[in-house]
């Protein structure tokens, strides 16, 4: 735990200096570590999932997050800060507790989301608040010329098995919704996942993504960023 913290702190200036270049150092507790097990529920994650979140309290607790993720949880269209609304509550909880446990690396956010800053009850409240935010705004989109290619890759390589045909994810299994997320964030995350540098990642996803070229990743990000938000009307054709 301690050494994790030191590592995270040591990474901070590097990350700040590089501005937005993804930090590609692997997490010592994340994927790639000998004993990594996907979603090995930490005691804290279990604790938070058991709590009943209160959206009104969550709005207040979310204040400490608004400086980056904005007051409506929409993040930035340039993808530096992801959109959190529309994400499943269980996924929000998994990601925040993974970051707190040092499994997912996120030095930019760490001082504002670690246990001295936010209590387990507040994480549950924030997840409830975000789930109740239903406004859908225009997200950051890709160039738009790779949508067909992206769709083919997404279907043929089986991404939909976990993330759904409409990019809706799966709350129960804690697979994130990926539809209508900001383009640059999607691209960055896939690069990190491919390099095993995000920390938490499903090993089956890493296996598939490993042989993706940059062009492949850009095409998939283009496609996903241009999907309708999964909370909106269902896709006209295809579907399940």
């Amino acid at each position: 735990m301690r050494s994790m913290l030191i590592v995270a702190l040591a990474l901070l200036p590097v990350c700040a200096a590089l501005a937005d270049a993804p930090d590609t150092a692997a997490s010592p507790r994340g994927i790639g570590a000998k004993d990594y097990v996907w979603n090995r529920m930490t005691p804290e994650q279990v604790e938070v999932l058991r709590k009943t979140g209160d959206a009104a309290r969550g709005r207040e607790a979310f204040r400490g997050c608004r400086g980056c993720h904005r007051s409506d949880g929409f993040g930035r269209v340039d993808g530096i800060y992801p959109k959190l609304t529309g994400q499943h509550a269980a996924v929000i909880i998994k990601q925040v507790t993974d970051i707190r446990a040092g499994v997912r690396i996120n030095p930019k956010m760490e001082p504002f989301s670690s246990d001295h800053a936010v209590s387990p009850q507040e994480i549950a409240d924030i997840a409830a608040f975000l789930a109740a935010e239903t406004t859908i705004k225009e997200n950051g989109k890709g160039p738009g010329d790779q949508v067909r290619v992206g769709e083919q890759i997404y279907t043929q390589r089986g991404c939909f098995k976990c993330h759904g045909r409409r990019g809706e994810g799966n709350e129960e299994k804690m697979y994130p919704a990926v539809a209508a997320q900001h383009y640059s964030y999607l691209l960055r995350e896939m690069q990190l996942i491919k390099l095993e540098a995000r920390g938490n990642s499903h090993p089956d996803m890493v296996t598939v993504l490993r042989d993706f070229s940059t062009a492949d990743l850009e095409a998939v990000a283009d496609y996903l960023s241009r999907m309708p938000d999964h909370r909106q009307a269902r896709a006209p054709e295809g579907g399940k």
Binding site: R63, G64, C65, C68, F112, V118
Partner: protein, 221 residues
């Protein structure tokens, strides 16, 4: 009445660090006890507190740039700061000994009094710098992951109990506090989030954002 020792706020005139010596403390307490009216009573309702007024002005709108304006700050925030000064959780050569001169019971009365005063507008001397500061205040600094100040302190700088009002505050005071947060001199912020913000900022950025905040109205027309 009560001898305030009107410490000038200029750097050269600042008091020696630490707490008053034992005999001095007894003397002060003696003076307090012998005063016909307890401090709390003086602060109640109408009466501005003369001890505090020496540095913060009777209505809490200090005119000395190093001394913060107290007018319009949330009562809970003021009470927390006074309690922190008394416990030396927040350290200041000038203000520390002053907080030692009041009682626990005075805290709530003083906090209520200053929170109800109307804050005066701040002074902006460099509009160009303020324009740079606005970007920091509303958007943060993405390169160094500084979150937007508006997220916690509100867009108009009106603040809350936990995230203090900043609108119209003296720039010299704010820059000093941000530096104090950055180098650990001030570390009484709940959850250490303000320290985390300041640690990511340069002094130039602090000056720019303070210049912008000085012009904020904070809900005051």
């Amino acid at each position: 009445m009560i001898r305030t020792g009107r410490a000038p706020a200029s750097r050269s005139g600042r008091r020696r660090a630490g707490h008053p010596s034992k005999p001095a403390l007894f003397l002060m307490l003696g003076l307090l006890a012998s005063a016909s009216m307890p401090l709390a009573a003086q602060a109640q309702g109408t009466g501005p507190n003369p001890l505090c007024a020496a540095c913060h002005n009777p209505d809490g709108n200090s005119t000395i740039p190093e001394n913060p304006k107290l007018a319009g700050l949330d009562a809970e925030y003021i009470a927390k700061q006074l309690a922190d000064f008394r416990k030396h959780k927040r350290v200041s050569e000038t203000m520390g000994p002053m907080a030692g001169q009041i009682t626990e019971a005075d805290i709530d009365v003083l906090a209520a009094y200053y929170s109800e005063q109307k804050p005066t507008p701040g002074v902006v001397t460099d509009p160009k710098l303020a324009a740079q500061g606005q970007v920091i205040y509303d958007e943060g600094i993405v390169g160094s992951a500084v979150p937007a100040c508006s997220g916690c302190h509100n867009e108009d700088g009106s603040g809350t109990a936990k995230y203090p009002r900043l609108a119209g505050q003296h720039t010299a005071y704010m820059v000093q506090q941000m530096k104090n947060f950055k180098n650990g001199v001030r570390n009484n912020d709940i959850r250490e989030v303000m320290s985390a913000v300041a640690k990511r900022m340069t002094e130039q950025e602090m000056k720019a954002v303070a210049e912008y905040i000085a012009g904020l109205k904070g809900g005051n027309p």
